[in-house]
């Protein structure tokens, strides 16, 4: 089974700044990590490979420094890695990004399954998974996947999380899945994996190599326009220490909680 896992490098901090001109996140000088939801996609891919054989390829679009996250994915046990890196990709919205990723999936060739995390924690759109399927034309997509029940005769059975429970659906392969954290418990990488990943070859493909139309890339090729961004209001938090014995301080805590109707 040939599986592609899409990962995104996202800011590793909760407080990010937004460029007032482009309305996009300022990523320079910010620690970057693998998008947390993508760990679940990677774990599921590794488990499927353990069950059915085949290979896992990690795919990411981003600047050169995204190589760090790709190497981390390799440390977990992915077989191959591709970084899509080109100045024309910069500023692409989810439609442009999924176009690039889909072209790379085509170039990899004979892919049975593309796995994505449910969404990236920086943009929170959850659109890239469905976008890849749309660009792959006739590939089915399932979102909110909480379990892969089985694969038989090029049919994939999955559970999708829905309001009040889940439904079970069948997809023909090849397919794209966006998985949620209920699907598994990601493993922790081991030192041997990191040592191997440190020297693993990462293919770097630009727009030419995947045959991308540059008019469909970057800000110009992206139909989405961010017209305004507003940082969330900071939550008012305060700490109160209660003096006295344990009984006295517990009594004071109880009083305060009642005043704010917390109990």
């Amino acid at each position: 089974m040939k599986i592609v896992v899409c990962i995104k490098q996202v800011p590793g901090v909760s407080s990010v700044k937004i460029d007032p001109e482009t309305k996009r996140l300022i990523r320079d000088g910010v620690i970057s990590v693998i998008n947390p939801f993508d760990y679940y996609a990677l774990e599921e891919a590794l488990r499927l490979r353990e069950l059915h054989g085949g290979s896992v390829t990690v795919l990411s679009m981003g600047p050169q420094k995204a190589e760090q996250s790709i190497r981390e994915a390799l440390a977990f046990g992915a077989d191959n890695a591709v970084l899509l890196c080109d100045k024309h990709f910069a500023g692409s919205d989810t439609w442009g990004t999924s176009y690039v990723l889909a072209l790379a999936v085509r170039k990899i060739g004979d892919v049975d399954l593309v796995l994505c995390g449910k969404q990236a924690i920086d943009g929170d759109t959850a659109q890239v998974g469905p976008g890849i399927a749309a660009h792959m034309k006739d590939w089915p997509h399932a979102a909110g996947v909480s379990a892969i029940n089985g694969i038989e005769d090029h049919m994939l059975s999955v559970n999708r999380m829905i309001d009040g429970g889940y439904d079970e659906c069948l997809l023909t392969l090849p397919a794209v899945l966006s998985v949620i954290k209920e699907i598994n418990e990601p493993r922790v990488a081991r030192l041997k994996g990191w040592l191997k990943a440190e020297h693993s070859l990462i293919d770097i493909w630009d727009a030419d190599q995947i045959g991308a139309d540059v008019n469909l890339l970057g800000l110009n090729g992206s139909p989405t326009r961010v017209v305004k961004t507003t940082p969330p209001k900071s939550r008012d938090r305060k700490t109160t220490f209660f003096d006295g014995s344990e009984a006295e301080s517990a009594g004071k805590l109880l009083y305060e909680l009642r005043i704010i109707s917390a109990i």
Partner: protein, 260 residues
Amino acid sequence: MNLNYKRYRLEVSPPKQAVNHLSERLTRFDEKYNKAVDAGHCVCVTDNAMGNLAFQGHELIQELKLPVRFGQVMIHLNTFHTLSDLHWILDSCGELGIKEILVVSGDGSVRLPKLKPSEIDCDSASVTSVELLGYIRKIYGSAFILGAAFNQYEPEAHEILKFRRKIEAGAEFIVTQPMVGRNELIEKVMSKTKIPFIIEAWMSPNIKLLSDCIGYSIASEDTFDPMACLESLRNAYPANGFYLALLDFKTQFNNFQIKA
């Protein structure tokens, strides 16, 4: 197997899980480890301290082919592992001849899986160091010398109850939380038990970090001198062993060796 509890236990933080400068970071760990062992001390390797993913002590020892001498390696083990990883760690420690395991509840993070009570056949609401101690004892018998932590900054009744449960579950020695002077609760508990207590000394000049962990100011930032603090603790507790947290191998190790 009798451990020399008076041997100094030197905390050596394992490299964090990251690809940047990995070889250099491994070399630094190797140097600290060998320096401590060659000087006759016991190296203590933490387990994802503060919830930050780091390499496990046993895999570093395996990969770097570090020496394991009886009583000179202590591995921390917390509850933030899958069951299979827990057995991987313990089985590897067994194969390497590592005997001393300090069992703690741990800090955890979103990236770390937590042991579930059902996985280790216990009916508690969650797995703490008590349940983990009991499980290791049940599965591995006397293969390891298990230790547990004692937090003198917690309310007395609560901590004494936990201490008793840890001993019942199989803890054979205790490591305190970092101390900067005499502590009445520690002295009270030590006077009533034969369990060896290892006193943890805070070797970083940054005492604020410890104060932040505890929740109140423990000592003046302007006047705190880790070496002087260690000296006063040694005088106060001459019968105890010492665990040195955040020891600076460049500036403190040589001074400390003379005093040891």
